[in-house]
Symmetry: C2
Subunit: 240 residues, 2 copies
């Protein structure tokens, strides 16, 4: 199976919602009707709905139906619960992006970095520091560490364009899971130097796992605080 049926259905329904065919607070057709439309079992259809619900597009209500709760976001937003490269995010948001490679060097994971990141202490790693310009304005400083056991090296050229593409297309490595934290911190020297930001930076950390479950990549992104935001969806867990 090239693409799972439920992924296909998810994509179709999502675009219907984003394009307003099903508007905010409308009810979707019933599960049975949709299952029939897409010629799948209800279980499979429900899997597509689960994903839409996860991402904040719909809310289902027992006995009543499934409601669209998606509203277009007014400002540029990064998704906290989606893994996408900077290039992908910028394309989605509709801004231009440019990357400056500030440094690239081999190092060893220190005890404190290991504690913060979850990468194994003492492991060989490649440390990249990059400055991101969105719409020609410097807004993000990224510090990344890649285990050399998984990522032996990253050519400077790739670091400037898209490390992501290099990992996926050349090395065949893909971050398919990551745990993230978000805090607000005082800018450090590097931030002050490059971001023209003196008040506070928004710090997103991300520990990335590859498909074999190895935590191989840790990134600390320092965002200027005024331009971008993040979105997430929350659900009340069933009683536990």
């Amino acid at each position: 199976m090239a693409v799972a049926k439920y992924t296909e259905i998810y994509t179709v329904l999502r675009s219907r919602i984003e394009q307003g065919q099903y508007g905010f607070r409308d009810l979707l057709p019933s599960e049975n009707a949709l299952a029939q439309e897409f010629s799948v079992s209800r279980n499979t259809l429900r899997k597509a709905l689960d994903r839409l619900s996860d991402q904040g597009y719909i809310q289902s209500m027992q006995g009543r139906g499934i409601q669209v709760i998606y509203r277009p976001y007014p400002a540029p937003r990064f998704f906290l619960s989606n893994i996408e490269s900077m290039a992908e995010a910028c394309q989605r948001i509709g801004v231009s992006s440019h990357t400056v490679l500030l440094s690239s060097q081999h190092c060893v994971i220190s005890e404190s970095l290991a504690a913060e990141s979850g990468l194994p202490v003492g492991a060989q790693a490649l440390a990249l520091v990059r400055l991101r310009l969105l719409n020609d304005r410097p807004v993000i400083v990224d510090r990344s560490w890649f285990l050399t056991s998984v990522v032996p090296s990253v050519p400077d050229e790739a670091a400037r364009t898209s490390v992501y593409e290099y990992l996926e297309d050349v090395l065949g490595v893909r971050t398919c899971f990551s745990t993230r934290t978000l805090t607000v911190e005082e800018p450090d020297d590097l931030d002050r130097q490059h971001l023209e930001e003196t008040r506070a930076v928004c710090v997103v950390t991300s520990l990335g796992f590859d498909s074999s479950g190895t935590p191989f990549e840790f990134t600390r992104s320092h965002h200027v605080s005024d331009t971008f935001g993040f979105v997430a969806v929350a659900r009340r867990s069933p009683q536990v």
Copy 2:
């Protein structure tokens, strides 16, 4: 069915992980083994695993097994993708909490608030402003709006203890879904007055839907930037 089987299983497995019975990077028993242990079908067992995966506890790897990726968080963390009351969060994190009711008044949803929140313009609402003290330190200013059509009023006493409890236990209303955004902003007058914070505040907005799908509650929480953080989990979406 009082509690769904998969919820039960989720709870058991989660506590095993949190208590280290299955440690970071360990593999869980296979799905078949777990399904047998809990005497459920593999589908049901997988539903429990889905939830664990959603919340960043495990990562499953085709052909290999299911790996634990949970690490205890060093600092207090709010979950961005879980709905919990301040009281619940503080209990989980292990800090004391106290609420000061700064104001409580009826109002009408303005055009700008409607645009920001998603609540209907012109609707009658109750506006609460509360200051949260965690461990006796003022760290959060909450501005909340509740549609009076759903929440006619909130006694001051309930606003000081737990609006959440009042909504659920007295009115039978429950926020079961919310869409959230997170930004960093300059503190406003109220923040400066109560938070002793001059640099930046972390702003979390939340539009809450009740079980009938009505967006009935909007909250803007201004957090001081140095004490708390947020966690989320991300997965690479299947190709779409």
